[in-house]
Subunit: 194 residues, 2 copies
């Protein structure tokens, strides 16, 4: 299996987001899979979709977007890692979706309605936050769960989906973070089992 | 009143988003208010928050971000206009929030919890979409309402808040769009009444 591992976090050095990515990649390799890392900040991915891009055929898109589309096409699944900024992904990852998960590729319109094109691709999302879990669920209605599970992977049809949020990063101990990474390993093993 | 009018739409020419902005600005001027337009695509606003920016004092931020913060500080309210892309704003506007509505400015942390700093600023959001209203509400749980009302303006404390979504843009007739603009005028008049 090829698994596209997408990181939307500004820190190129040590961060818990990066530790999740490294754990996920290592686990996938140990399983005999091929992780393909997309560190969107390192790539300097431009998240601003210009006017009319949605109407262009894929072969006329900028190379930087076509490259992402090719990687998504070849992938059997996704691991997505990012912090919670305003109940949504950082803009760089939001715009990656705007440009890469495009109509006619990730989903299509037919006479019978919307057709999901990623039904065979698995998806695992890991998010991090500092908001207490009860506030995130009760006050903010768990917006990242709705975004990834229902809106994004609901539309493109990836039913083999899971998400785990780790909080509070800022208050966590080294022991807690180590236990979380062990959990990342177990989740990745289960999600991408043959 | 100074009202910051923020547009997050790629089309520099004719679009219904732009027609909303023009109607809002004209109405505000007729009321004796001062609309201050931020067309984020025209400004080429960079929505990608670099590492560590959240820790910088405002005076050390890039000029392009300080300029937005100054405009927000001086504003008595906001009109925000954008299309619905994946139940969230386009990345350019998402990142404007990431960088401009920063901790220590839009909200602060105190010993007693989060303090909202924009309680006196009014907010009106206009969004556009092509998804049928019942699908947006029942399947996707009205994510833009949750995002703007509860997450963003809930946290910064703007209780004088309203949002109107217009759909379906793609199926609308010229008469329908004209009626919608009349509604925009009425909403702006009410929201920004003395």
């Amino acid at each position: 299996m090829k698994v596209l591992v997408i990181l939307g976090h500004p820190n190129p050095g040590e961060s818990f987001n990066r530790a999740i990515v490294e754990t996920a990649c290592r686990t996938l390799r140990e399983m005999g899979h091929e992780p393909v890392l997309r560190d969107l900040y390192a790539e300097k991915f431009d998240p601003v979709m210009p006017m009319g891009e949605e109407k262009l055929p894929i072969e006329e898109l900028p190379e930087s977007v076509r490259r992402e589309i090719d990687a998504v096409r070849e992938a059997d699944g996704f691991v997505i890692v990012h912090p919670n900024w305003w109940g949504t992904p950082p803009a760089i990852l939001k715009g990656w979706l705007d440009r890469v998960f495009r109509a006619g590729f990730a989903y299509s319109f037919s006479a019978n309605g919307v057709v999901s094109n990623f039904t065979e691709k698995r998806a695992q999302v890991f998010t991090t936050s500092n908001t207490p879990r009860d506030v995130e669920l009760e006050v903010y209605h768990d917006p990242l769960e709705n975004f990834w599970k229902t809106i994004v992977f609901g539309l493109v049809g990836s039913r083999d989906f899971g998400r785990r949020n780790f909080e509070s990063i800022i208050m966590s101990s080294p022991e807690e973070r180590a236990a979380w990474l062990t959990e990342v390993e177990a989740i990745v093993k289960k999600r991408f089992a043959e």
